[in-house]
C-alpha cells in the first residue's frame, strides 16, 4: 500500500466531491455562454451567408426595394436589359430550370439631344420630366404667364359627353377647340335631398372626398394620409343639416355600405334634368388655354400641364438635354411654343438579353427589374404575368441603410468626441475637486443609465422640434422667433411653390402675426424679408439623430476619456509644467498624445454602440422607406445644399432590420433580406471592433512608458 505512505494522497470524501461539483457547475455556465454565442452567430452566418453569396455585391450596392413574386406563363423571346438580367439571376437561383435560349443582343435606342432656348414655354409636368431624365438640370423660373398656351395630345379620337355648365365654360375659354356641331342631349336624373343628424361618425377617404364639394358642414378629427387609403377617420357634424346632392355623390358618400356611418334622418329623391353635349375630339395635337385644358382634364384628357398656372417661361438657355425619341414627340406636341436648337439624334446601344421561359413558373423580381422587363416586353406582350404578390423591402440590397448608419455615426462621433474630450479634459485636468464635479459625475452616471428610448424622446423634443435654426423661411410651428438681419432677395418662385412658402409683403409684422397669416394661407413656411433665429427644430434628420446619439454615448465617451487621461503619469504633467509650459500647453503636448490610444478605443467602442442603436433614431432620424440617399434629390446648391443634406432623413441599418423583421408580414420571401441585413450589420460592427483592436495595438506600440 504505497498510497498509505503518501502524506499528500487524494482524499475521496464528500469535501472532494463538493469541490468537483462546484468546478463542474462553473464550467457548464461558462460553456453555456460559448454555446449561446455560437448558436446566434452560427444561425446568422448559416442563413445570411448564402444570401450574400447569391446576391453578391448587388446586395451592398442596391437600395432596398419591394420584391415582386410573379407567376409567369411560358413564353419565347422575352427581352430584358442586361443589367436587369443580372438582378433576375440573383433573385432566382433556380433559374436554370426554366431559363432557356439565352442570347445577348444590342438594342438601339434613339435619343434626341437638344438645347432649350430662353423664352420657351413649357408645362410644369414636362419640365419635371426633363429634369428627371437629365440628372443635373434644375430650372429655376422667375416668370409665369397664365394665359400662355398649353398643348395636349390625343393618341386616338375621344368621345366626350360634357355637362352643359362645363360646355359653356369651355366655349368661353376656347371655342376653336370644339367641333361646330355639338348635339344637345337632355337626361333625366335624380338628386337626393338628405337630412343628416349631428354627431361624430367614422367615414372613409372616398366618402370624405365626395363630401368636400357639397354644402355639408363637417370637421375631420384627423386628416387622411395619401398612403393609407383604407383608413377610417372620425368626422364631426356640428348640427343637423339638410343638403341636396347629385347621384354620384350620393352613391359615394351614402351608399349601402356607408349608410350606417353617416346617419341619414330622411332622404328624398328629387328628379332633375341635366343637359349634356356630346362631341368627339379627333386624334392629334391640340393647343388651347389652361382654363380649357382644366375643364377637359375632368373628362379624361391626360396632360402634364398645371392648368391653374399655365406654362412656365424659361429665362435662360438649357444646353445638352437628352430625351428618348418618343418623349421628344410628346414634348414638342404638348408644348407648341418650345424653342429648341442644335437638335440631333443620338443613338445608344444597350445590351439586352433575350430568353425563353420553358414552363409556367414563379419569378422573383426587384421593383427596378420588374419595371424594365415589363416595359421592354410591353409591345410584344410576350411576358405574361398571371398573378403577382408583393413583399415590401424584401428585394434589392442595403446601400441606403448602410450609408444612413454611416452618416449618423460620423455626425454623432464628431459631436460626441468634441464635447466628450473637452468635458473630460476639464473634469480631469482643470476642475477642482468639490461639489460641482461630484454633481457632474452623478449626473453622468445617471445619464449612462437612461434607457435609449428616453434619449429618443428627448432628441425628438429637443433636436427635432425645438433646436435653433437660422433661416429666412421659418416654420409657422416655430416655438420662438427672433429677427436677426433684413435680407433683400426673395426665395425663387419655384422653390416657394415646391415648399409652400408664404410670401408676406409687409416686413414689419411681429413673429406671431406672421405665423398666423401664413397658417391661415395654408403654408408651413413663411418669408418676409428677414433672417430669423427660429426655435423650430431640425426635423427628422441625420443631424437630429446624430446629436441624439451623441447625447446618449457622451457618458461612455467621457468616462473612458477620463480614464485614459488619468492613466497618463502625473510626472509628465509636472515635468512639462516645470519646463515653463502653460496648463494647456502641457495638456496638449504631454498628456493628450499619451491618452490618445485610450480615447481612440473609447471612440471606436462608441461607434459600435451608436451604430447598433435603434430607439434613439426611431423618432429623430430614421425612416423605413426612402428611395433616395440623403444627398440625392436636393435642389439647392453650395452651402444650402449641405444644410439640406444635414436636414434630410435617412434609412439606418438597425431600424431597417427592425422594419424587415417586425413590421412587414413574414414569409419565406422576406427571410433572405432579414438574415442578409443582420449579417451585413454584424460584419460592419465586428470589423469596427477589429479595427479598434488593430489601431490600439499599433498606437500602443508606438507610445508607451
Amino acid at each position: 500500500m504505497g498510497s498509505s505512505n503518501n502524506p499528500f494522497s487524494k482524499q475521496r470524501n464528500s469535501e472532494h466531491i463538493k469541490e468537483t461539483l462546484v468546478k463542474l457547475t462553473f464550467i457548464v455556465f461558462t460553456y453555456l455562454i460559448i454555446f449561446a454565442a455560437l448558436g446566434i452567430f452560427g444561425k446568422i452566418i448559416y442563413e445570411g451567408a448564402p444570401v450574400l453569396w447569391q446576391k453578391g455585391w448587388s446586395f451592398f450596392t442596391k437600395k432596398p426595394q419591394t420584391l415582386f413574386v410573379n407567376q409567369v406563363e411560358k413564353g419565347e423571346g422575352i427581352e430584358i436589359p442586361a443589367q436587369n438580367f443580372d438582378g433576375l439571376l440573383a433573385n432566382n437561383p433556380d433559374a436554370d430550370k426554366w431559363l432557356t435560349n439565352v442570347t445577348e443582343f444590342e438594342k438601339t435606342t434613339e435619343f434626341i439631344k437638344f438645347d432649350l432656348l430662353s423664352g420657351s414655354r413649357i408645362g410644369s409636368g414636362y419640365l419635371g420630366e426633363l429634369e428627371s431624365l437629365n440628372a443635373d438640370v434644375y430650372v429655376l423660373y422667375t416668370e409665369r404667364d397664365t394665359d400662355a398656351a398649353v398643348g395636349f395630345q390625343l393618341q386616338a379620337e375621344k368621345k366626350i359627353s360634357m355637362q352643359q355648365s362645363d360646355y359653356v365654360a369651355l366655349t368661353k375659354a376656347d371655342h376653336k377647340l370644339l367641333p361646330a356641331e355639338t348635339p344637345e342631349r337632355t337626361v333625366n336624373l335624380s338628386d337626393f335631398e338628405l337630412t343628416i343628424a349631428a354627431g361624430e361618425y367614422p367615414i372613409g377617404k372616398d366618402a370624405h372626398d365626395a363630401l368636400v364639394p357639397t354644402e355639408l358642414v363637417f370637421q375631420m378629427r384627423q386628416t387622411f394620409a395619401d398612403d393609407e387609403p383604407d383608413k377610417i377617420n372620425l368626422t364631426l357634424i356640428p348640427h343637423e343639416q339638410t343638403i341636396t346632392v347629385s347621384a354620384d355623390i350620393y352613391y359615394a358618400a351614402f351608399d349601402e355600405e356607408e349608410r350606417g356611418t353617416l346617419p341619414v334622418k330622411s332622404e328624398q329623391e328629387v328628379p332633375v334634368s341635366r343637359t349634356f353635349r356630346d362631341f368627339t375630339l379627333a386624334a392629334g395635337s391640340y393647343i388651347t388655354k389652361p382654363e380649357a385644358l382644366s375643364i377637359l382634364g375632368k373628362y379624361g384628357i391626360q396632360h402634364q400641364h398645371d392648368p391653374l398656372k399655365g406654362s412656365i417661361v424659361l429665362n435662360k438657355n438649357i444646353t445638352g438635354l437628352t430625351v428618348p425619341k418618343d418623349f421628344w414627340g410628346i414634348l414638342t406636341q404638348a408644348n407648341p411654343s418650345l424653342k429648341t436648337a442644335n437638335q440631333s439624334t443620338v443613338t445608344a446601344d444597350t445590351a439586352y438579353i433575350r430568353f425563353d421561359i420553358s414552363k409556367d413558373t414563379e419569378i422573383l423580381l426587384d421593383t427596378e427589374d420588374r419595371e424594365s422587363i415589363a416595359s421592354a416586353n410591353e409591345a410584344t406582350g410576350k411576358f405574361v404575368t398571371t398573378s403577382e404578390q408583393t413583399h415590401s423591402y424584401s428585394g434589392g440590397g442595403v446601400i441606403g441603410p448602410i450609408i444612413g448608419t454611416g452618416l449618423l455615426v460620423i455626425i454623432c462621433m464628431l459631436v460626441a468626441l468634441f464635447t466628450g474630450i473637452a468635458a473630460s479634459i476639464f473634469l480631469n485636468e482643470y476642475a477642482r475637486a468639490g461639489g460641482f464635479v461630484k454633481t457632474i459625475r452623478l449626473a453622468m452616471l445617471n445619464l449612462a443609465g437612461v434607457p435609449s428610448i428616453v434619449f429618443g424622446l428627448f432628441g425628438l423634443g429637443l433636436f427635432v422640434i425645438l433646436a435653433p435654426c437660422v433661416t429666412s423661411t421659418p416654420k409657422t410651428s416655430s416655438a420662438m422667433m427672433v429677427p436677426l438681419v433684413k435680407l433683400g432677395s426673395k426665395p425663387e418662385l419655384r422653390v416657394c411653390e415646391q415648399q409652400h412658402i408664404y410670401i408676406c409683403e409687409k416686413s414689419n409684422l411681429s413673429s406671431s402675426e406672421l405665423t398666423t397669416i401664413a397658417t391661415a394661407n395654408g403654408s408651413k413656411l413663411v418669408y418676409d424679408g428677414w433672417i430669423w433665429l427660429s426655435l423650430q427644430g431640425w426635423g427628422t434628420s441625420i443631424l437630429a439623430g446624430g446629436f441624439t446619439l451623441a447625447m446618449m454615448v457622451l457618458p461612455v465617451i467621457i468616462t473612458s476619456c477620463e480614464e485614459s487621461l488619468s492613466a497618463v503619469p502625473m510626472g509628465f504633467r509636472e515635468a512639462s509644467l516645470a519646463l515653463g509650459a502653460s496648463k494647456w500647453q502641457s495638456i496638449r503636448t504631454a498628456v493628450l498624445p499619451y491618452a490618445f490610444p485610450g480615447i481612440l478605443t473609447a471612440s471606436v467602442l462608441g461607434i459600435t454602440r451608436v451604430a447598433g442603436e435603434t430607439a434613439p433614431i426611431m423618432f429623430t432620424a430614421a425612416v423605413a422607406e426612402k428611395s433616395e440617399l440623403p444627398w440625392e434629390g436636393l435642389n439647392s446648391t453650395g452651402f444650402d445644399k449641405f444644410l439640406d443634406f444635414l436636414q434630410s432623413s435617412a434609412q439606418a441599418l438597425p431600424y431597417h432590420i427592425y422594419t424587415v423583421a417586425g413590421r412587414i408580414p413574414q414569409s419565406e420571401y422576406t427571410q433572405p433580406m432579414q438574415y442578409g441585413s443582420v449579417l451585413v450589420f454584424m460584419l460592419i460592427v465586428m470589423s469596427f471592433a477589429a479595427i479598434s483592436i488593430w489601431l490600439r495595438a499599433r498606437v500602443r506600440n508606438k507610445i508607451k512608458w
Binding site: R432, A433, P569, G571, F572, R573, E574, A575, S576, L577, A578, L579, G580, A581, S582, Q585, S586, T589, A590, Y594, I703, K704, W705
Partner: protein, 307 residues
C-alpha cells in the same frame, strides 16, 4: 571610456577621479565615505571662496506653508538664504517638509488646490514669487526642476531635450539642434546618445534617463535647478554620474537638492539645511553641519541615531 570602466568597478572611483581633476594634490584613492575630513577638504576651497560670501539667489523669509487651507502648517517659519551658483542640500527625515519647500520654490505646489502660504514670502532674484503680477510659467522657465522619479516623455531623446524650447515657440531647427547638443553635453550625456538622438528616451538606462531629464531642464537655461531626490531611484553607479554632473553644473546654475542620503549631501553640497517636522533646525556650510552641528537633533540625525 576609461572613466566609465572604472566607474563600473568602484562607484567612488569616479568621484575620486573628479577629485583628482578638481584638486590634483589630494590623494586620489582616499576612501571618500569613511573620511569626513576628506569631504571637508574637497569643499574647503569652495566654502571659503563662495559659500560664505555668495550672492543670495533665493531668500526665504519666515515661510509657513499649509496643504489644507491653513488648518495645519506643513512648514513653519522657515527663513533661509540660498546663495547663487552653489549647491544647497535639504536633508531631514521623511515628512519633514524638505520636498514641500523645494516645490514652493517654483510654485509646483500650485497644483495642489488647497495649498497656501500662510505667512512669510519667497524672493528669487529679489522678486516675491507669490506676488500677483508673477507668472508661474515665467517663474518655472527660470527655476527648473528635476524630479525624484526620472520622467522623460515617451518621445525621442532629441524631442525630450527640445521640448522646453518648443513650447516657448522656438521652431528653427538650427537653434534647436544647437541647444540639444549643448544641453546634452552639459549633462554629460552627449557622447552616449549622440548617435541615437531619434531613438526613444525610454530605451536609455535609469541613470541616463535622469541625466536626460537634467539636460531637458538646462535646455531652457534656468537660473536655478531644483532637484527633488534625483538619485533615489538610481543605482550607485548612476548616482555617481549624476553627482559628478551636479558638481559640474554648479559653475553655471544655482542648485537646490533634496536628498535622503547624508553622504550625498556631504559629497556635493556647499551648504546644508536640516529640517525636522516642518521646521528648519540648522542651516550652514556643509562642513560645519557635518563636523560640528550646533543642534542636538542635527547631530543625532547625521550620526544615524534616528531618521
Amino acid at each position: 571610456m576609461n572613466q566609465q570602466d572604472s566607474a563600473n568597478i568602484d562607484p567612488t572611483a569616479t568621484l575620486s577621479g573628479q577629485a583628482v581633476t578638481a584638486a590634483p594634490t589630494e590623494a586620489p584613492d582616499a576612501p571618500l565615505r569613511q573620511d569626513p575630513a576628506h569631504t571637508e577638504h574637497l569643499h574647503a576651497k569652495s566654502i571659503t571662496e563662495n559659500a560664505l560670501e555668495g550672492k543670495t539667489m533665493i531668500k526665504i523669509e519666515d515661510l509657513s506653508f499649509s496643504y489644507d487651507k491653513g488648518k495645519t502648517n506643513t512648514l513653519r517659519n522657515i527663513s533661509l538664504d540660498i546663495p547663487e551658483k552653489q549647491v544647497t542640500a535639504f536633508i531631514g527625515p521623511s515628512g519633514c517638509g524638505k520636498s514641500t519647500l523645494i516645490r514652493c520654490l517654483n510654485r509646483m505646489n500650485d497644483l495642489v488646490e488647497t495649498s497656501c502660504i500662510t505667512s512669510g514670502n519667497i524672493k528669487i532674484m529679489g522678486q516675491d514669487i507669490h506676488a500677483k503680477e508673477v507668472s508661474a510659467i515665467e517663474l518655472r522657465k527660470q527655476v527648473g526642476m528635476v524630479f525624484q522619479k526620472y520622467n522623460p516623455f515617451p518621445k525621442s531623446i532629441y524631442d525630450n531635450v527640445a521640448y522646453g524650447l518648443r513650447i516657448q515657440g522656438i521652431k528653427k531647427k538650427s537653434v534647436l539642434d544647437e541647444a540639444v547638443e549643448r544641453s546634452l553635453k552639459n549633462a554629460a550625456l552627449w557622447d552616449e546618445v549622440k548617435d541615437r538622438l531619434k531613438d526613444s528616451a525610454l530605451g536609455l538606462s535609469g541613470g541616463q534617463q535622469q541625466r536626460l531629464c537634467i539636460a531637458r531642464t538646462i535646455a531652457v537655461r534656468p537660473k536655478v535647478i531644483l532637484m527633488d531626490e534625483p538619485c533615489s531611484a538610481l543605482d550607485p553607479i548612476a548616482t555617481a554620474k549624476v553627482e559628478e554632473l551636479m558638481l559640474e553644473l554648479r559653475k553655471d546654475f544655482t542648485i537646490v537638492i533634496v536628498t535622503h542620503s547624508m553622504q550625498q549631501a556631504s559629497r556635493i553640497s556647499d551648504r546644508t539645511a536640516f529640517f525636522y517636522l516642518g521646521e528648519l533646525i540648522e542651516y550652514g556650510s556643509t562642513t560645519h553641519i557635518f563636523t560640528n552641528p550646533t543642534a542636538k537633533q542635527t547631530e543625532d540625525y547625521i550620526s544615524g541615531r534616528f531618521g
